[in-house]
């Protein structure tokens, strides 16, 4: 059994969280609130010591990079949220963040998630070099078309459109099935991780 007090604290908190499986209780809520508090405290400390002090306070206090004060002032406008009379000023830093974020993200996201993905569905000679690749490429091509048609609501589903839309449902269901299978694996993995911690690090039952 471990003699490390931190392992004991972690083990007791793990059991506290697991106690929710029986029913909601004050011990579980204590562990949950402790987690939220510690995570926020850790983040605030890090932002202060790793970002604000070296990147803003230190250079400005030494009389360097004084232009940073303008950006610090704009950033500080976020706090006007707490003053109802001035709360409209919060739009200024939000506008900067949105403007920069959207400008950087939109062209690259179109490239990554639309153009490159569309290119990957185009059937080329290289897709038919072996039987497995050929079958996979045809299924992907057909699956993409059928799924897009399933979400096409501008015209009545009749004839070929109807059949393709129904095929789209099959592809969507297969996707959900794969996601569910992976979800089971993910959740079981997390439980295994905690049980391994309790058995190995805390109790020392397994090597």
């Amino acid at each position: 059994m471990s003699t490390d007090i931190w392992v004991w604290i972690a083990a007791i908190l793990t059991l506290g969280i697991f106690s929710f499986l029986y029913k909601d209780n004050p011990f579980y809520r204590f562990c949950e609130h402790l987690f939220v508090g510690i995570t926020n405290g850790y983040a605030i400390t890090f932002y202060w010591h790793r970002i604000l002090v070296p990147s803003l306070i230190k250079p400005v206090s030494q009389g360097e990079k004084l232009y940073l004060l303008i950006f610090a002032f704009i950033g500080a406008l976020y706090f006007t949220r707490f003053i109802p009379r001035l709360s409209w000023l919060v739009r200024i830093p939000i506008a900067f963040v949105l403007g920069y974020g959207a400008g950087a993200a939109i062209p690259r996201t179109i490239e990554t998630s639309i153009i490159e993905q569309a290119k990957a569905t185009i059937l080329q000679r290289s897709n038919f070099l072996n039987l497995f690749d050929a079958i996979s490429s045809i299924i992907i091509f057909f699956g993409v078309i059928a799924t897009i048609i399933y979400f096409f609501f501008s015209t009545e589903r009749k004839g070929i459109l109807k059949h393709l839309a129904y095929s789209g449902i099959i592809f969507i269901m297969l996707g959900f099935g794969a996601s569910f299978g992976y979800t089971v694996m993910a959740r079981i993995s997390l439980l295994i991780g905690r049980l391994t911690f309790l058995l190995r690090d805390w109790l020392g039952i397994i090597k």
């Binding site: 029986y22 890090f46 990957a120 996601s179 979800t183 993995s189 295994i192 391994t196």
Partner: protein, 279 residues
């Protein structure tokens, strides 16, 4: 109606028993895992591996073995490694993985040449925010984005970072994450600078990213604990036995739990159809 508590209890037993008495399983590496392994294995000597530890303790069980296996692979092959994180809570986990693997290698080392030395063989750049700054900034200069490393050293004084200046000197970035962070590397770093990207995802999100593997935007993909076990298997196959294989050790429990879930799904469906027929 069976109480969910009974299901929880059975599930706990189904996981606990194989943990106490594991049975031997040999993970069969799948193509996405092999692609990542062999890409790293065949990387030119002057290129570095950048590992982005973008997960927090809640997904440690699934993702930490991947980081450890990647580090072992890189150190066996003497590939230069840079470690960073885009999530604050990844800092402690990245440091833990480095400490564990470096200790394992240095315990075996007989000379300084054999040892894994900070600044020469690997660097821990730490964390930088907002994520766009490191994602785009490392295309120009890594030392500008990270003027000091996690331990407070000036990065421009570290020998490794005098050779590895930006993405051009990086063979591949492998981002290990429980969220969409690997896709940020594809969207920003790959689209702008053409750097290769590999990913390690939690199983719950892995299915969403297979299209990026098919399109070649991801060089390789490790999905959940199984992905980690497969990578561990490839490392052991090529470089001999390693100290611990966390993901592989958990595979017996994973297997029994999956069998139990399948049985529950079948029983649930039989009951559902029987009840429907009765109505």
């Amino acid at each position: 109606m069976v109480s969910r508590r009974i299901i929880y209890l059975i599930l706990t037993l189904v996981i606990l028993i194989p943990l106490l008495r594991p049975f031997k399983l040999k993970p069969l590496p799948m193509k996405p895992v092999e692609n990542l392994f062999y890409y790293i294995n065949n990387m030119p000597k002057d290129k570095a591996l950048l590992i982005s530890v973008d997960y927090s303790p809640d997904t440690e069980a699934e993702l930490h073995p991947m980081t450890i296996a990647l580090l072992k692979h890189a150190f066996y092959k003497r590939i230069k490694v840079g470690v960073l994180t885009l999530t604050l809570l990844g800092l402690g986990l990245a440091e833990d993985a480095l400490r564990t693997v470096v200790k394992e290698f240095n315990e075996r080392a007989k000379t300084r040449e054999d040892s894994i030395i900070y600044g020469r063989d690997y660097v821990f750049l730490g964390w930088q925010t907002p994520p766009l700054v490191p994602l785009l900034g490392m295309g120009e200069s890594i030392t500008k984005v990270f003027p000091v490393d996690y331990y407070g050293n000036r990065t421009d004084t570290l020998p490794l970072l005098q050779q590895i200046k930006n993405y051009r000197d990086v063979g591949i970035v492998v981002s290990i994450s429980g969220s969409a962070i690997p896709m940020w590397y594809v969207t920003y770093a790959q689209t702008t600078f053409g750097v290769k990207v590999g990913a390690g995802f939690t199983a719950v999100s892995a299915a969403d990213y297979y299209p990026y593997l098919n399109s070649g935007q991801l060089t390789g993909l490790l999905a959940g604990m199984r992905g980690g076990a497969e990578y561990e298997e490839l490392v052991e196959k090529h470089f001999g036995k390693t100290k611990r294989r966390k993901a592989t050790e958990a595979m017996s429990s994973q297997t029994t739990a999956h069998i139990m879930i399948i049985i529950l799904i079948i029983i649930g469906n039989i009951i559902y159809f029987k009840q429907r027929r009765r109505k």
